[in-house]
Symmetry: C2
DNA sequence: CTGAAAGCGCTTACAG
DNA sequence: CTGAAAGCGCTTACAG
């Protein structure tokens, strides 16, 4: 089934293809009567311009590239939810690129070759060198890029993020103010940008209170962290636990309770994400709330402005955080 | 910064652009020496062919469209994980299209206009009429389409799925064989294709055992289902519960335990997904395991074969399911 | 307001 | 094995 092209429309409406193109892109430039006639034919034929041809001719693909690491992580898919909704509103298509650290350069060149009009960079498993690769490629290709839930210290690229340092600091301080002394931070073995910031905020609060920061690294894999926590209880005293991931906090609570501890009486527990896990645990989990959907939505909105060269208030947006009080703290 | 084009490469390597193109697409057709020379220049200039132009000329975009409803649902993002991994391996790009039921026709035409080479259809909130829209558009545009975790009774489109009817039947039967009588199925108020199949399997098992099927519809929203379950316990007797979603099963257990019930002693509970929720509940949740990542991966693999017109063993693939025994049953 | 023509950056028969 | 040329389906100055 041959798709109808602009030529078919032009022929049926007895105008040139230039006029059909104008009807679609600059309708005010064409005589109302002609316009109506063309519009009618377009409708009859069910004509939709070939996005690829349009992209080549106009050098605009109205497509953005989203660079992620692991889409199955809840925070990533939440952010994508916000991105998708806003992109739809502004009629941009979305291409997904997954990039591991080793092939970052390759992926970036690939994204450029795919002619996206803008880039949303979500991958947060980066070190300094890898960050440099992203910046270099984005600048060279001259493609507007917004870092989403990531930021680079030198502020060379626009970003949308939450103040994880301050949020974690506040939550840790709250626990300290309740009289907790042996407060642990559960973090991940693998390094993530946001987790590093959370660690920073935790350490700051602990240092201020002259308490020793204790970071315990485990895995997001439940059976691994269960084993870690099981062993943990044989030789650590603890009265407070904050976890970079809610699911790890929930798993900790389960192990603690099976070891006879009472939560929150014996141990205060809190998460730093506010996912659905926090609502489905027993007791429910007090959390730092980080508006992940909003981060995606706001980043996409900022990107549309950048792509259209509209004025923007700020290239560096920090969304507000809050603490959601539940049963565990 | 002007991107390097095929002309730049041709000029620098002192060959025609046709030869450069051949080096990239049919290297065996060009003299090894010329080939090396061109390859060297390509590398030096960091040349990557413009994917849009290539798409227009070859009428192949090496892009597939994935049509989803809500990306934030765990099963959807898991499937996308499988799709992304396989697509990467076969060098296809992925465009995401979200479609609500009302705008399905619009979305389908949009997908066609974007010139994708293949379609993966994941949206499972469909009724008969909407299904017809998908089939019609896919056929008309002549774009290979694989239904992913959905299938249509008349088998007009290829699909990859799990036998939800049989899986749920087996799980229900297991509960019945343990002597449970008042077994409820917790399903959703909104209708999903797979949930309807699960209901069917449950009803079949109950009918066979001459027990009355009882379907209780609630929401995925925790506060709503908590209220539902709270009220539920004032006037229902129950000794078994199976839930189309793990998270709903977990929430039910929490409410039940707070109401003084013991699980699994008083009430056997099981989920029909096997998500991470099942590992993080107390007690852990026995589940029907549905290999969602694999569904995505296998569907994408099937689609590559269809797009390349390779031979396929079967257009209708049913992946195996199993029951994962844990503490709740 | 409208049309003829060039051009976007590639691929692909067709000659040679 | 290689090049000249047409063409993919559009957009966009440029004339008129």
């Amino acid at each position: 089934m041959a798709n109808t092209t602009i030529y078919d429309v032009a022929g049926a409406a007895k105008v040139s293809l230039a006029t059909v193109s104008r009807v679609m892109n600059n309708p005010e430039k064409v005589n109302p009567e002609t316009r109506e006639r063309v519009l009618k034919v377009i409708k009859e034929l069910g004509y939709k311009p070939n996005a690829i041809a349009r992209g080549l001719a106009s050098r605009k693909s109205t497509t953005i590239g989203v660079i992620i690491s692991d889409i199955t992580r809840a925070s990533v898919s939440q952010m994508l939810g916000g991105i998708i909704d806003v992109a739809k509103k502004y009629e941009y298509s979305i291409k997904i690129f997954s990039a591991s650290n080793v092939e970052l350069e390759d992926t970036m060149r690939n994204v450029v070759a795919e002619q996206v009009d803008g880039i949303l960079f979500l991958n947060e498993e980066l070190n300094k060198d890898e960050i440099a690769v992203v910046v270099k490629n984005a600048k060279e290709a001259n493609i507007p890029t917004v870092l989403t839930n990531v930021n680079f210290a030198d502020n060379v690229l626009p970003y949308v993020i939450v103040d994880y340092v301050e949020g974690t600091y506040e939550l840790t301080k709250r626990m300290i103010d309740m009289g907790r002394k042996d407060i642990y931070l559960f973090s991940t073995v693998r390094h993530y940008f946001t987790n590093d910031l959370k660690e920073e905020g935790y350490i700051k609060a602990m240092n201020e209170a002259h308490l020793e920061p204790r970071i315990f690294r485990t895995s997001g894999d439940v059976s691994i962290s269960t084993a870690h926590f099981q062993e943990f209880f044989t030789n650590h005293s603890i009265d407070g636990a904050i976890s970079v991931r809610d699911s790890i906090a929930v798993n900790f609570m389960n192990v603690a309770i099976k070891n006879g501890r009472k939560i929150p009486e014996d141990i205060s527990v809190a998460g730093l994400q506010n996912t659905k896990y926090a609502l489905l645990s027993r007791p429910t989990l007090t959390c730092l709330d980080t508006p992940v959907y909003d981060i995606g939505a706001v980043a996409m909105r900022l990107l549309t402005k950048l792509m259209r060269q509209e004025e923007v208030d700020s290239l560096h947006i920090v969304l507000p955080h809050s603490i959601i009080k539940r049963e565990s703290l």
